[in-house]
Each structure stands twice: as C-alpha cells, then as structure tokens.
C-alpha cells in the first residue's frame, strides 16, 4: 500500500497522474465515486459525435431552474442500446441518475452500469445488445 502511495506521489510530482483511459477525453473531470439523481424536463437531445448530449432543466433545492448537459455515448452506441434520435424530445419528463462534475459545473456523465434514465415510466438503457460487459471498465 505504501509502495502504491509512493508511486502515485512520484507520478504526480512528475506530472504523470495515473488516470484511467475511459472515454475519448477521459472521465477525470467527473466525480465517479458518487451519483446525482434529478427530476427534470428535456430541452433537447443532440445526436452527434463524439458524444450525444442530453440537455434538461431541473429545479434545485431553492426552486430555481438549473440547466444541465449530460454526456451520453456516441450515436452508434446509443443505437445499439436501443435508442433513436427521437427517443427523447423537448418537454419529456425524466428522472436521471448520473455522475456530476468535480468543478460544480452543471454537466454530467452517464454510463452503462450505474447510470439510470426513465421517462414517462419507461427506462432508456445504455447497454449495447451483444456487449458482454456489465459496466464500462
């Protein structure tokens, strides 16, 4: 354990922070240790590379509307997980569980495994048909 800590400290000193290579740009900006769950209303679904983006509004504790942007997977992945670009439309109510940012920016990252998204009682999943993995790693 001490060795691992020493390695990490040394790596950080050298500027070679050990970080997992997950998505295209990594998930380093997100707090992967905890999740946020919100109710909201979709404003748009951007169906583009490198990641589809889900935009929605949600009221915070003070009743003020916050605008959120969530990274989904790329359009081919989404298609293989059963989505179409019309799966969610402006105004659709959603309940969503995702990872928030470390910086506090109202962005998020949803992933196959621990992310969850339902709209009008229907779950919209992120697991591709045929993918043996149960969670990204």
């Amino acid at each position: 354990m001490k060795t691992i800590l020493a390695c990490c400290a040394l790596a950080m000193l050298l500027g070679v922070a050990p970080r997992p290579m997950l998505a295209h740009h990594g998930s380093a900006a997100y707090d992967m240790s905890k999740s946020i769950t919100l109710d909201g209303a979709v404003t748009s679904l951007d169906w583009n590379n490198p990641h589809c983006l889900l935009h929605f509004d949600s009221k915070d504790d003070k009743g003020e509307v916050q605008h959120w942007t969530i990274e989904l997977y790329n359009p081919l992945w989404m298609t293989r997980a059963g989505w179409t670009r019309n799966s969610l439309k402006a105004g659709d109510p959603i309940n969503i569980t995702f990872h928030g940012t470390k910086s506090g920016a109202t962005n998020g990252y949803i992933r196959d495994g621990d992310g969850k998204l339902t709209s009008n009682g229907k779950e919209l999943g992120f697991h591709q048909a045929g993918d043996e993995r149960t969670i990204e790693r």
Partner: protein, 268 residues
C-alpha cells in the same frame, strides 16, 4: 491425453505448453487441428470456425479498450520534452484537449484503438487484409504478399503494414509513421522511428486478444506494450461515424471548457 493438451487455452505463462502445441501444430494436419475439430459441448458454429478468418465486427469496449500493459517505458529526454508539451493541461488538472484527434486529425496507431466505443471490422483477401475502424470511418491495409516498404517512402499517419500468420496469430509489422500522432489519449508521443508489432490472437470464436509492442528508440529507452480485448459482435453492422470539427468544437465548449472553467490555462 493428446486432446487435453490440444485444448488447453493459450496463456502467456504456459510457454512450455505453447511450445508443445506449436510442435504438435507442425506435425498435425490442418484438418485435425483443435480449432477445426468438433468439441464436445461446443455449438456447431464454434466447432466450425476458422481461426484465420477474422471477418466480422469486433468490439474493444468503452474508450475503444486500448490499455497500457505493464508500465510505460521510460522516455528519453527528447521524448519527455514532447510528452510534457502534450500534457501541459494536466498540471492544472484540466482534461487533456491538446490531443490532435480532438481536431479530427487521424489518430494513427495504436491510438485508433482508443477512440470512443466503436467497433473494428476485418476484410481479408489473399494478398491484403483490410481493417476498418468505425470510430473515424477509416481503414488501413495490411499487405500479406511479402512486399516491402518502398525506400524513401513518405511517412504516413497510419504507417506501412505487412502481415504474416504465426500459427493462427496474425502478426502485423508497421513502420513508416509520421510523428504527428499520439500513441494514446494520455499524451504519449512517438517519433518517426516508431516500429509497432501487433499480434491478433483469437482465443476462441468470440474473443480476440490484440497485443501491441511499441518500439521507438528515439523517444523511449525500451519497448513497451499496450493491448485490447475484443469480443465478436455478430449482430452489429458497421455504422457511419465521422469526426466532424464543428461537433468537436461544440463538445469542447459545452463540456470540457465548462468542466474546467475555474482552472488556470497552462502556457506552453
């Protein structure tokens, strides 16, 4: 006894076993080799598959699945300087956005295996194997006809690749790279001296291990390795996915810059 040896899965630790299998493979006719022989309990499809036929779509996982195996080799001073420039954003804990693939430049090798969650597909002819990469809708040729890289050939984004079969492993030797790409999204650089050996080992019908050896004596003090574990995806079709600069910019401004908005911008 012979059967049980033949059916032992190939692992790195079993050098003796592997040698034994290799020796047997030399003397046993192709028709009775284990991969062609029907196996008890195996499905008809699995029993019939040809290990030298890699056709189909293969999925490496989220982020493409590219991983460093073991440790990154120590960099030479020249390599270290390039690495430091590539990863300057990490000093202020920012997401690395200097990756040339963010600007839709070709990823090169092996970085192309580390782009998004897309598939690759093999198309084989006797003289040439083509690998299609869904991530940026591109391909590369692997020449199987014994040709050599022409002298004084221009450096290439994807290099010049020749392949051969070693047993049932496809071994691909690639040189002739330009130095404009990164080895992966973590900012590891390479020079034009980069020499890559890829070994595609199909462990069974549905699984293929890619071991990648990176040798760049100008930027690294020793060879090092990366790898990808692929699974066959018989129900998928190769999709259209291009890198669109305006989409990349939009993503960067909405996601990366917002996530890192309070962090200092590094000076190169």
């Amino acid at each position: 006894m012979l059967r049980s040896k033949l059916h032992r899965p190939h692992t790195r630790g079993h050098v003796v076993g592997a040698l034994a299998v290799f020796a047997i493979a030399l003397v046993v006719p192709l028709s009775v080799r284990p991969q062609a022989a029907p196996q008890q309990g195996a499905s008809k499809t699995e029993a019939a598959f040809n290990p030298r036929d890699l056709s189909g779509l293969w999925f490496g996982g989220v982020g493409g699945g590219l991983r460093v195996q073991g440790k990154v080799a120590p960099l030479t001073p020249e390599g270290q300087a390039r690495f430091n420039a590539n990863t300057a954003e990490l000093k202020s804990d920012r997401t690395i956005s200097a990756d040339p693939t963010f600007r839709c430049e070709p990823p090169g090798l092996p970085h192309i295996y580390g782009i998004g969650g897309y598939s690759i597909e093999f198309l084989q002819t006797p003289a040439r194997i083509v690998i299609f990469y869904e991530s940026i809708h591109t391909f590369r040729d692997i020449w199987m006809d014994g040709r050599k890289r022409p002298e004084d050939a221009d450096p290439l984004w994807m290099g010049f690749s020749v392949g051969r079969w070693e047993g049932n492993d496809l071994v691909v030797d690639t040189t002739g790279f330009n130095d404009k790409t990164w080895l992966n999204g973590a900012g590891y650089p390479h020079s034009e001296a980069l020499h890559i050996i890829e070994r595609f080992h199909r462990a069974d019908l549905n699984h293929m291990q890619l071991d990648i050896t990176l040798d760049d004596p100008k930027f690294y003090t020793m060879p090092w390795k990366m790898g990808v574990n692929f699974t066959l995806q018989p129900t998928w079709e190769f999709g259209e996915s291009f890198c669109i600069p305006t989409n990349q910019e939009s993503f960067k401004s909405q996601i990366i810059e917002q996530n890192d908005k309070d962090k200092p911008v590094p000076k190169n």
